[in-house]
Subunit: 306 residues, 3 copies
């Protein structure tokens, strides 16, 4: 298994064995995440965020610092050199002189792939367009695997905005490499994109539902997402679907005792605050797992571990 020098652009670039290897390596990274380490001392991460995302940026920076490395970057909506008219290829070829690895967030699909073609240093896609967010998918998988002891055989529901949410696209692809039953719950207007659906249906059993209730009693994992206002072309359409799905104590009465609830955060009102203290809630644990997963990726790609 070779990760050194590799780009992480799409979850589709990773084979099942590679994903499993990342999960196992992440578990071994847990104590390091608590104690700190110096294995990336002298290494530099550049976080290039052309779209704001405080938490993903801080997660990468925290991961880098925990391994003894440094981080520089920008998180401005309008970057100076881009305002001056620079193209992404040039920006990447400049920034790679400053850093050993680049984490890139970009509003356009395909941006990370393009960057990787021009860059000599490895590129990690930290979210591009509505398409891909591979490190989020990996931390989601790690959370499921680490909490429930396995992925294969589980009943997993993805709930909410399955059309514009890049998180669920990357996660659905990853889960289609596993032996799971996938339940897609969304309003009609936010159904999972055709191209994603076609690919995963070839591999695993997928059902589409309109309500959580229909499927809840069977679920091992309830993965719910924010209806992302900023992804909607139309405000009226947003108003209609917002709040369609809300998880509260009442709903959870019909859930299995060991069902876990995941959410990529931020949440608005998809999960009631009363759920936070139940044994189902794992969405803040996901945040921690995100750091550990990213530490693992940084260490693997920079060749500090194998």
């Amino acid at each position: 298994m070779k990760f050194k020098g590799r780009d992480i652009i799409s979850i589709k670039d990773l084979a099942r064995e590679e994903i499993d290897y990342i999960l196992e390596t992440t578990r071994a990274m847990e104590p390091v995440a608590k104690s700190g380490s110096d294995i990336l001392r002298g290494k530099m991460l550049a976080t290039l965020f052309f779209e704001p995302s405080t938490r993903t940026r801080l997660s990468f920076e925290s991961a880098m610092h925990k391994l003894g490395g440094s981080a520089i970057g920008f998180a401005e909506a309008e970057v100076a050199s881009v305002k001056k008219g620079e193209n992404l290829a040039d920006t990447v070829r400049v920034v790679e002189k400053y850093a050993d690895i680049i984490a890139l967030r970009h509003p356009l699909e395909g941006a990370a792939r393009l960057a990787a073609e021009f860059a000599e240093v490895p590129i990690i896609n930290a979210g591009s367009g509505a398409e891909e967010h591979p490190t989020q998918a990996l931390l989601d998988l790690y959370t499921i695997w680490n909490e429930l002891g396995k992925i294969d055989g589980l009943n997993i529901a993805l709930v909410g905005d399955l059309r514009y949410g890049r998180t669920v696209h990357s996660l659905a692809y990853a889960l289609s490499l596993c032996d799971v039953k996938l339940h897609l719950v969304s309003p009609e207007s936010l159904r999972m994109r055709r191209e994603v659906l076609d690919t995963i249906k070839d591999r695993i059993k997928v059902t589409e539902k309109r309500t959580i209730e229909e499927i809840l009693p069977r679920l091992d994992v309830l993965y719910i997402t924010r209806i992302q206002k900023e992804r909607f072309p139309d405000a009226a359409e947003y108003a209609k679907v917002r709040g369609s799905y809300q998880v509260d104590l009442n709903l959870l009465e019909k859930a299995k005792e060991d069902m876990i609830i995941l959410h990529p955060l931020p949440r608005i009102d998809e999960i009631a605050a009363e759920v936070d203290n139940t044994s189902h809630a794992r969405y803040f644990q996901q945040v921690w797992n995100g750091i550990v997963t990213r530490m693992t990726l940084l260490a693997l790609i920079l060749g500090a571990i194998k």
Copy 2:
């Protein structure tokens, strides 16, 4: 005296003995501030500034770096996850995964207290609303104590905007724990808030004045603040009081030789440039003291010193 793991939300949470202990520990920290240290190596500070404040943020970051730790954070007026609708409790529960301690600046009163209730890591209030700024009060106290050798027995004037300035609220509370004579000098419209005044009047002698001149010859400490335009509900009101109080060489002729002038900065025209080179000026010294005080708090709260 136990500081490890503690939140610093309000100056009112600290007893006089605790404040004295912080001052003495800060003095012992002075050489460390010059030489640097590694006692917080591997520790991470998150600076969450929901309201811009370059100097307070840089002061915390500098303090953390001088102790060998790292800092991440944001300082954007509009934070991505908040724009997406996230509440403060969630933001704090996410960010605490990235960091060992959080310094929070927020435009709303009570925000730091709320954050501390949800956070498992310690929260330092780096300014909330017009109410509290406890680390500024501590560095102010340290400056007075370090420069004049004592606090008890002094005549201290707080001048300027005593209504909207959070700095003077925290400092007035802190001074009310000491045996000082406090003189509050402000225009009528910017008098010290009732609730602050009531509390401190129970403990120490307080006079209210309209001009510096009335009280100047007796003063050991002249603490002057900016009339904060952004705190005024009404621009006309601001125009009226701006420039009411200005310290220049002419005024200082009536001051004691060893009276010191403090200012939380930034200043607009409250202190003439000609005063900068006099032996009275201590406002840039305060900036340095701010780093040393914050180093002390970080080291105490994170348990690196006792």
Copy 3:
């Protein structure tokens, strides 16, 4: 040769021997830039960017980190304390408490000089107004010297916006200390500023041209700059001159085989993408050289090397 504690405000402050010394020291710094070092451990750089410039800021931060130091700073268009009305002298006297050295970018000419007069720590001018950008000039010189083995005796063209581009002003001054033939190529409206031209004409042979073609076959160095839209008082004027000069493969047929092309970046359409893979292109190498040059300056000024 004394660099410790010195400000770098203008390229005019440096003698030829000092520039040569910096170039030689930069070459010795190259392996350190690759391996990393700890010679600035415990030292802090503050990057104060009152004007956005992602690449220059990241270059300074990367240089500081590569030497084991830390960096803090701001890069906001509107800085909090400045919005509150603070003047530059106060900002600098505050920030110098946080840092051992300051890199300052400011939209106004003379800002760096003013800052240096008030600061006790060394100031590096990271670009002020349309006037000066001394570290860019030094990295340009280093690139020429390192790539061609010498500076004296070369034919060098500066092409594009010679009126508003601060880079070419600093570089032209620096080159006038060397025995070069300088060719200035620009549209009439963007000719080199009178005051720069007068100074350099006293020292070296200077010709002014309207097209690259007239001079191309003789050139050892073609230094082309972006027509900076934001420096134009008039949009119509910008539209007229934009694209006047474009380097492509067709043009390069008439160039010497070992002629090098430099550009301070970002570029818009001054250099066609097809040129990137030719042996002439050195503009991405310049980015790397910028880090190494800034490492050298930081180490010299902070007294870590001599």
